[in-house]
Structure formats: structure tokens, C-alpha cells
Symmetry: D2
Subunit: 155 residues, 4 copies
């Protein structure tokens, strides 16, 4: 019943895959904060990268893994929403997960929680696959399909 399967898949599309969620601790550096004493908003993009890297190490899909497969995955969009400030010395945690999409993209979502477990920041990045010739992949690369299978995502 491929139609049913398709329906199921459609329903789950663009959902965060909770089972793959990876948590990473970060400690706010002095030079990441601004004259207001709070983290300068642009630095959250670095924290997102910390989260994405932790995800990659945990699930075998770091930048270097991707590169070894002959691809780069430039970020084409990033988004960041700030709820609460983080301050110098704070220990926060980033929860990172991937979004299940049939598109030839890697979509990560991030949530950063402060020491009180309150949501400080959430965000998303979208990456595309570019092959060794510098061409954009319109289809999922084989290595990524294989990775999806390995971690239990529908392919």
C-alpha cells in the first residue's frame, strides 16, 4: 500500500525527529556578551553550530563525514528567536535535532535552555548539498540516504 505509506510519510514530513535529539552543554564566554551584559544575538549562530556539530558527532554526520562523501553542505537559511537573555558564566544546554524532510536538504532545529531550564532561544538552519563540481544536488545524495536508513528515517 504505497499510497498509505506516502500519506504517513507526508504527515511526518517537516517534523523534528525527537528520537535523534542531541544535548550539548555550553558555557557562555565573556567575549560573547555585549555592553548590556548579555550574549550578543549573532553569537547564537555559533551555539547552533556547536549543537549541530554535537549532533553530527553523535550520529556520524559531521561536516567532515559529509566532506569525505564528496559534498559540502552550505547553509542557505538560518533563523533565530530570542526569548530570554544568556549572560557571561551561564551554563546553558542546546538541544539539536534534525527535521524529516523529503527535500534534498538538511534541516536542523535548535533549542537553547538556560540553567533554570527556561527556553532562551530557538532556531533553525537549512543546508543544501553541493557536489565536488560545485553543483547543487536536486536529489538526496546516496551517502545521505544511507545515513537516513542507518538512523531509522524513512527513505
Amino acid at each position: 500500500m504505497p499510497a498509505l505509506n506516502k500519506m504517513r510519510k507526508k504527515k511526518d514530513q517537516y517534523k523534528e525527529v525527537e528520537a535523534l535529539k542531541v544535548t550539548q552543554e555550553i558555557r557562555i564566554r565573556f567575549n560573547e556578551t555585549d555592553p548590556l551584559g548579555i550574549v550578543w544575538h549573532g553569537n547564537y549562530i555559533t551555539y547552533f553550530e556547536d549543537g549541530r556539530e554535537a549532533f553530527g558527532r553523535e550520529h556520524g554526520i559531521t561536516y567532515l563525514d559529509v566532506h569525505a562523501s564528496g559534498y559540502t553542505t552550505p547553509i542557505v537559511k538560518s533563523e533565530c528567536e530570542h526569548k530570554l537573555p544568556l549572560r557571561y558564566g551561564d551554563v546553558a544546554r542546546i538541544e539539536t535535532t534534525i527535521v524529516d524532510t523529503p527535500a534534498a536538504k538538511m534541516i536542523f532545529r535548535y533549542k537553547i535552555f538556560d540553567a533554570n531550564n527556561s527556553l532562551a532561544c530557538s532556531g533553525e538552519t537549512i543546508q543544501v548539498f553541493v557536489d565536488a563540481n560545485g553543483d547543487l544536488s536536486l536529489n538526496m545524495p546516496d551517502f545521505f540516504e544511507e545515513w537516513r536508513r542507518k538512523v531509522g528515517l524513512p527513505t
Copy 2:
């Protein structure tokens, strides 16, 4: 005819105010580029700030002007879309303008063009007004209403 006026205003809401657009040149620094030889995506947030600051200097609404009025304007959301890479040594230009909104917010939009005049990146930031007590302003602060009048925005 206030109703008509309201209609006109509604139609223009959330539109970029072209008349206020400010252009700023940037030169890509070596340490803003990554091992792929292109600007690391998070650095565009700094360029947006460069554009917003140039806008502020041109139109009398810099961070320091705002601060002198007793407010800070933390960024609550930022968004960035990448179309083309920028490289070390490139001279790019940022076009920054404000979005006309009746909300108690400052919304800026950014377009970064490369030396060939192609769109490399576009984005948006949203700022709210926080008063000297640390409270979020639900209404536009007086100083901002006055500024809107001064630059010809409807109030």
C-alpha cells in the same frame, strides 16, 4: 476621513520604506571566511548590524540615540537567507531599510549585493523596546513616534 487614512496605512503596513534606504559598503575580512574560502554564515549577522548602524547614523536612530532616550532595543528575531557566497577581499554593499509597522517594534530588512550587483544575502531583524526598568514596551515609545514623524512615517 480617518477610515480612508487607516486603509491607506493598513495597505502600507509591513512594507519596506524605500525612501529611507541606506547603503553601506563592506570589505570582507580574511577572518570572516571559512575553510571553504567563503564568508561563514554567522558573520552576516555582523554585516546586518553594520547596515543597521549605518541606517541609524544616517537617520538619527543609532543604538546610542535610543539609549539616550532611556530604552534598549534587544533583537528578538533574526533571519538570514544566503543566495551567493562572498569571499575574502570582496567589496560588497548592504542596503538597509526599516519596515513600516504599527507594532511597538523596529523591523529592519537587509540586502547584501556582491561586486557584480548580484544579491548575495537577504535578511530581517526584529527589535522590541525595553524601558529603563527592564519592561517591554507594549506601545511605541514617545521618542520613536517622534522619530517616525521626523522621517515622514505615519504616526
Copy 3:
């Protein structure tokens, strides 16, 4: 025999206090590397700060501890020597220790070792004490003398 004591002290002055050495692991971020694929030299100053902070947490002399005593400790000099490059994904370690000096200064020395235990970088920072009025302390502040006693440095 105060003269002898003075001699002993003089001999030890400006020596690194090995007993207080603190080791901190760092993981090289993608955005800390440059188009040559190696850490951009300016980022080592951040690593030194990571080391100094780890030292402060271990020995009760963080920036916040100092601040609580009514002082700030601006850096007046920093120095960095590069021996070997570090690359994205490398896990390095920073060894930080304080230098025993009779001057009203905090002098830290740093050594960063790569995964093969080879010295990648060494450096030094010098900080002075500035009191709540913004004045430079010509003598060691009481809180620092007390800290020196606590960790076993001659006072």
C-alpha cells in the same frame, strides 16, 4: 632572616607556579578556522581566555569573583607564539598557570597542545587591577593578597 627570604622570593619571581596549573580541553570550531583550514591566529586569544577562566573556576579567582571584590582586571598586554597549526575538529588542551610576581598584576601563561601532545601555541597575558572608581591599583588589592595566601603563594 628576611634578607634570605627576599632572595628566595626574588629567585622565584616571574616564575610560573606549576602547582596551580589547570588543564582545559577545547574543540576547534569550524568558524575559528580560516581559508587555509587552520585556526585564525586571533582566535588563540579566545582560547587563552578559556584557559584563564578554567584556572579561575578551579582556584576561585574568576572574573566574577574579582568583580565581586570591587575590581576589574583589564588586560594590558597579550602575547602569542604559534608553533603548529590547529585545524577544525581538533581536540586540543590548554595548560594555564599564573606567574608569581610581586607587582600589582595578574600574569597568566598558556600552553596549547595538539592531540599529539605537541606544543601548538604559547602565550602570556598581563592584567592590572582597577578599583571601583576606575583607578589603577599600585598595590595588590587585599582580596588578591588573600587569594595568594589561600593558594600558597608568598605574600
Copy 4:
């Protein structure tokens, strides 16, 4: 009289070449300042690079010029002394010049002046020449000798 010539050269060695000095204006960014409201000390390394790049553009010896000659010039040492703080919004100027040395090195010196023309920071960077094979040049590369001739330095 080669001996005399040598003597003259020796006397001038390790001197800053005033005639080649290049001045570059910088505007202090919000995100370059820290919770004390002053530029975080590590950011001066970026300003030094801004100065070095301005020097390179003026005198035809940018990173890209060097690269086109088949060399890279990694920084092996940097040093930075802070005299006065710079703050957000300050417009400062960097004076950069090269040091005349017979060694196979590029040594730059930097002075950063605040808006009152007071010295805020001074520093030095030392670069070596690494050829396309990754080997350190023990002698000045031809392209650099040629450049020295062009700008009037003894060769």
C-alpha cells in the same frame, strides 16, 4: 664600500619604515565591546589585520598578492599592548608600517589612536614565508625581494 653599507643597514635593521606607513580608519562595532563597555582585548588582533590589509592594498602586498606568488605568510607571533580603552561607536585610526629586517620575515607594527589622537593600543605581528610545498623559507622569496626593491627598501 660594502662594509659601510652593511653598517648602515645594520643600524636601520628592525626599524619601522616611516615612509611606508599607512593609516586606516575603523569604527568600533557594538559586538566588539564587552560587558565593561570597552573593546574586548582579542578584537585588536582583527584591527591589526585591518591595518595590515590596508598596508597591503596601498603597497601591493596583500595576502592575495602573496598567495599569487605561491606563498602563504602565517603569523608566528603577535603582541598587543593596551593603553586606553576604545568604546562602541568610537572612530579610531590604525597606523601600520613594516619593520626593515634582513630575516625571511614580514614584521608589521601597529598603533591605534582614539578620536583624541591618544595612543590606545600598539602591537606587532611576525609572519614567515611558507612555500607551495608547505616548507618554511629560510631566505627571502624572490617576490618579496622584488617588492622590497619596488618600495625602496635595501635588498
